[in-house]
C-alpha cells in the first residue's frame, strides 16, 4: 500500500507527541480505506476537537475538524446530503462519551451509515490530562488528583445499548486487527463504532505510572483478549476485542430515500 497518497504531507509534522497512539490508528484507518478500494473523493472524515480530532487535517480526503463532541451531528448532515459518500468520524473518548454522548447514542439509534472511531486514551490529551468518562475508577488525572471516584463508561456496551448495528474493539498494540475491524466497520451498512484503546504516554501514562508508549501498548496486550477466545472465557476481567455486535438493520438514509421516492417520484 502506498500510504503517502492518503497523507497531506504539506501539513506535516503532525502535532502528536512521540509515542502517541493516535498515529497508529490513523495509519490503520488509511489501510482500511485502501483495502476497500475507495476513491479519495468518496470519503469524508469528520472529527470533533482533541488530539485525536486533529487526524482529518493530515488526511487527503474531504475533511472537517468541527466542535468538541459534535462531529457526529455534522456527519449526520453530510451523510444525509450525500448518502453515497463514506463518512468516517474519529473521536476522542471525551469527545464521544462526555460532551458528545448525546449525539453518540442518537446516531447509534438512528443507524445512519457512519463509522465512528473512538480513540480511547482514557484521558483528555489536548487539554493536558483531565479525567474523561473512560478514565478507570481510581486512576489519576489533573482533575482527579486523589483518583477518579465515578465509574467509567464501557463504550461498547453504551453503543450496543443505544442500538448500534456494528460494534468492535481493538488496541494500538493490535494494529493489523484494528485495520481489519475498521474495514469491516466501514463496509457495514449502518452505524458502526470501533473503539481503539490508544496510549497517551504524555498524560495518562505519566499520571498513572503506565510507563512509556511501548510499556503502555504491552499493557493493552495483557489486559485484552479476543472475544470468544479461551483466555477471555477464563478471565472475565479481560477486555474483549474483535467484532462484538453485528446485526443487519435498516439504514436511516436508505429508509429516508425510500420515503422520498414514494412521495415525490424523485430518485435520490
Amino acid at each position: 500500500m502506498n500510504t503517502r497518497r492518503y497523507i497531506r504531507e504539506r501539513f506535516f509534522p503532525h502535532l502528536w507527541c512521540p509515542g502517541c497512539g493516535h498515529g497508529i490508528v490513523m495509519s490503520a484507518l488509511v489501510g482500511a480505506v485502501d483495502s476497500l478500494g475507495l476513491s479519495q473523493n468518496e470519503v469524508v472524515v469528520i472529527s470533533g476537537i482533541g488530539c485525536s480530532s486533529r487526524m482529518p487535517g493530515y488526511l487527503d480526503f474531504h475533511t472537517m475538524h468541527t466542535l468538541h463532541g459534535r462531529a457526529l451531528a455534522f456527519a449526520t448532515g453530510v451523510k444525509m446530503g450525500r448518502p453515497d459518500l463514506t463518512v468516517i468520524v474519529p473521536m476522542g473518548d471525551g469527545d464521544a462519551a462526555a460532551i458528545g454522548g448525546n449525539h453518540l447514542i442518537h446516531a447509534a439509534r438512528r443507524n445512519l451509515d457512519l463509522t465512528a472511531v473512538v480513540l480511547n486514551n482514557r484521558i483528555y490529551g489536548m487539554t493536558g490530562g483531565q479525567s474523561s468518562p473512560t478514565t478507570p475508577e481510581g486512576d489519576r488525572s489533573t482533575t482527579a488528583p486523589y483518583g477518579v471516584l465515578d465509574p467509567s463508561f464501557d463504550l461498547v456496551e453504551l453503543a450496543r445499548g443505544a442500538g448500534a448495528s456494528f460494534v468492535a474493539r481493538s488496541t494500538t498494540y493490535h494494529a493489523q486487527e484494528t485495520r481489519e475491524l475498521l474495514a469491516a466497520a466501514i463496509a457495514h451498512q449502518g452505524f458502526s463504532l470501533v473503539e481503539v484503546l490508544s496510549q497517551c504516554p504524555t498524560y495518562y501514562g505519566r499520571k498513572n505510572q503506565g510507563g512509556d508508549a511501548v510499556a503502555m501498548m504491552k499493557t493493552f496486550k495483557q489486559i485484552t483478549a479476543p472475544a470468544g477466545s479461551q483466555r477471555a472465557a477464563q478471565d472475565p476481567g479481560l477486555i474483549t476485542r474483535g467484532i462484538l455486535v453485528q446485526e443487519p438493520r435498516t439504514e436511516y438514509c436508505a429508509a429516508y430515500g425510500e420515503l422520498v421516492r414514494e412521495l415525490s417520484g424523485h430518485e435520490e
Binding site: L67, G77, G81, H103, H106
Partner: protein, 382 residues
C-alpha cells in the same frame, strides 16, 4: 405572474420562502413559537425531494445543517429562545468556516425559558454577539407575510453570496399571525445559486482564497477537490495556523466582508418620511403598530413617518443617520429594553433626540403604547 395566493401563518411564509429559494435540507428540534416551520417542512421536504431530520437538540441541528451545506445543499434550521442559545457555538463555526446556511429565530419572551408563547424582540443583541469572538453577521427581519417570504429568500441569497450564516430574526406575533400571502411565480424573485469554483480537477483549489471581488467560490464535499474545514484560525487551504498575520487577515476578512457592505446589505422601507418631524424607527411586528400610529396621526395632520428596518445586522448606520438628520424627535419602537435604540443613538448625529417606546412584558406593543411615549416626548404630558 404570481403562482398562488394562500392564507397562511408567518411560520408557513418562512417555509414557502425557503422552498422558493431552493431549500434542500432542514434539521431542527421543536420549540414554541417556531415549531410549525419544522412540522410543515417534515411534510413538504420529502415530497419535494428534499431531506428533513429531527435532531437530538438545537446545537446538533445547526451542526447537521452546516454539514449538509458543505455537500452543496441549501440548508436551514429554525428555533426560538433557549434553542437559539444552544446554537451559538455552531453559529460561530459557520461564521469561521464560511458555510452558507440560514438560521430562523422566532423570538419569544426571555431570558431562559421566559414566556414561551409571548412576543418579544429580546434577541437582537444575541443575534449580533451571541457567539463568542469578534465577528460579523447578517440578521434580517420582517413585519408582514409578504416580507417574511421575501426576507427568507433574501436570507438564502445573502448566505450564498457572502458564504455566511444568515439569521432570520422573526418574533412570535409575526410567526403566528395569519394573513394573505401571494407566492411569486418562478423567476419573479431572484434566487442566488452557490458560486462554485472553476478550478479544474487536478489543479490546487484554495477554499479560503478570495477572488478579486472578495468572493470565495466553493467546492462540494464529494466533488473533485478535497480540502479541510475547521473552526480554528486557518490559512487559504483551510489548515489550522497560529501565524499572527494569518489570524489578523482572517479576522479582518470575516468582519469586513459584511461590515464594509452594511449599506449594500441594508434592506428597509420608509413611510411618510419626507417631511416628517417625528421619525419612528421600528422592525418586526412592532413596526406594524408603528405604521398604524403613523397612518392614524397623518390623517390628523401630524408630520410623522416610519423607517422600518428589514436588515438589523450589519446595522445600517449611515442609512439611519441620514434618516434621523434634521428630525425633531426620533422614537425607536421595539419589544425589548432598548437593544436597537442604543444602535440608533450611536448612529444619530443628535443622540439626545433619540427616544425609546418599548414593552417587555410579553404583551404586543400597541399604537396607543407608542402614542403615550410620544406625548411625553413632545412635552404634552401623559
Amino acid at each position: 405572474m404570481p403562482k398562488e395566493t394562500i392564507f397562511a401563518q408567518g411560520n408557513e411564509a418562512v417555509v414557502q420562502g425557503a422552498l422558493y429559494a431552493g431549500l434542500d435540507f432542514y434539521a431542527g428540534y421543536p420549540i414554541t413559537p417556531s415549531t410549525e416551520i419544522a412540522e410543515i417542512l417534515a411534510q413538504r421536504l420529502p415530497q419535494a425531494g428534499g431531506r428533513f431530520i429531527q435532531m437530538e437538540d438545537e446545537l446538533a441541528s445547526l451542526c447537521a445543517v452546516i454539514g449538509a451545506s458543505l455537500t452543496g445543499l441549501k440548508a436551514m434550521t429554525a428555533t426560538s429562545g433557549p434553542g437559539f442559545s444552544l446554537m451559538q457555538e455552531a453559529l460561530g463555526y459557520a461564521v469561521m468556516a464560511e458555510v452558507p446556511c440560514v438560521v430562523v429565530n422566532v423570538q419569544r419572551g426571555g431570558p431562559s425559558t421566559g414566556m414561551p408563547t409571548a412576543v418579544a424582540q429580546g434577541d437582537v443583541m444575541q443575534a449580533r454577539w451571541g457567539t463568542h469572538g469578534d465577528h460579523a453577521i447578517i440578521a434580517l427581519t420582517a413585519s408582514n407575510l409578504a416580507d417574511v417570504f421575501l426576507m427568507t429568500v433574501e436570507a438564502f441569497n445573502l448566505a450564498e453570496t457572502y458564504r455566511t450564516p444568515v439569521i432570520l430574526l422573526l418574533d412570535e406575533v409575526v410567526g403566528h399571525m395569519r394573513e394573505k400571502l401571494v407566492i411569486p411565480g418562478p423567476g419573479e424573485v431572484e434566487v442566488v445559486q452557490r458560486l462554485r469554483t472553476s478550478v479544474p480537477e487536478g489543479t490546487d483549489y484554495h477554499p479560503y482564497l478570495a477572488r478579486e471581488d472578495g468572493r470565495l467560490p466553493m467546492s462540494d464535499f464529494g466533488g473533485v477537490h478535497r480540502f479541510n474545514v475547521t473552526g480554528l484560525v486557518h490559512d487559504m487551504w483551510g489548515f489550522p495556523s497560529n501565524d499572527p498575520a494569518v489570524a489578523y487577515g482572517l479576522l479582518h476578512h470575516l468582519v469586513d466582508k459584511l461590515e464594509n457592505r452594511a449599506e449594500t446589505l441594508a434592506r428597509y422601507q420608509d413611510f411618510f418620511c419626507d417631511d416628517a418631524e417625528v421619525l419612528l424607527i421600528s422592525y418586526g411586528s412592532a413596526a406594524r403598530s408603528a405604521l398604524h400610529l403613523v397612518e392614524q396621526r397623518r390623517a390628523r395632520g401630524m408630520k410623522i413617518g416610519l423607517l422600518e428596518l428589514n436588515t438589523l445586522w450589519p446595522f445600517p448606520a449611515q442609512t439611519v443617520r441620514k434618516y434621523c438628520r434634521g428630525r425633531g424627535h426620533v422614537l425607536v419602537v421595539e419589544m425589548n429594553r432598548g437593544q436597537l435604540h442604543g444602535e440608533v443613538q450611536k448612529a444619530a448625529e443628535q443622540p439626545e433626540r433619540v427616544y425609546l417606546a418599548n414593552r417587555y412584558d410579553g404583551v404586543f406593543i400597541s399604537h396607543k403604547d407608542i402614542m403615550q411615549v410620544l406625548h411625553v416626548v413632545l412635552g404634552k404630558g401623559v
